[in-house]
Symmetry: C2
DNA sequence: TTGACATAACACCTTTTGGTTATATATAAT
DNA sequence: ATTATATATAACCAAAAGGTGTTATGTCAA
């Protein structure tokens, strides 16, 4: 339940292309396991495992609704990735983003 | 050399905490393999493997300098991560940007 | 209450990951 | 030329990841 017992790092959760794709599906709307797995060639069991990883990373949550389990996106943990990424922004884009980084971190 | 022969996805490359830590080290300055591995308990061979993964993702590059091989950061592939992340920002950043606005304008 | 359906729980297999040690090669210093 | 240092490479191993299929359980609907 708590944010504290994340067993899976969010970086690891988004490392898999299928999981990123599932996130994309759930970004549009919430979906049942059956509906999600209908988009892929792999077995429903495999999709459930991916959903479990995403759940442990706090990126999705599943709610039982009747006899279905409906998953929805929880994007908050992506903030950690964004924060990590912001540090490196100073190194690649243009001088503008470098300036932006410096200004936003000047204290 | 080419962007085309990336064998490793950048998302996968940054999934490992050790590799993220190595990136951090190289962000400060370029370093030889020996210097990098001196920061860790694991063997130099293990570090070299991580460096190979990072290299295949295009995130670092190593240049032979005398008998040393000096690695340096190549942050460009992180742009792909940022781009991916930007899409999801709309889902959570509403609260955050409001808060950011409040904090930045509280004078 | 029976049948169909959605999900859960297993058991199992293969590949990849992340690490080890040992040995070889190239360069620098004495 | 010899020795010490830095890296490269190969063989090996354990554990985790990612997939499969089968069976069990719970829920809805006729």
């Amino acid at each position: 339940m708590n944010e504290a017992n994340k067993k899976v790092d969010v970086f690891q959760a988004i490392a898999d292309p299928t999981r990123r794709d599932v996130l994309q599906l759930l970004a549009i709307k919430q979906r049942s396991i059956a509906e999600i797995s209908s988009h892929y060639d792999m077995s429903r069991t495999a999709i459930v495992k991916h959903l479990n990883v995403l759940t442990e990373a706090g990126l999705v949550n599943g709610q039982k609704l009747g006899r279905e389990k409906v998953y929805y996106l929880k994007p908050e943990p992506l903030g950690e990735v964004k924060q990590w990424l912001d540090y490196y922004e100073q190194f690649w884009n243009n001088k503008l983003s470098k300036l932006k980084f410096l200004v936003e971190n000047e204290d």
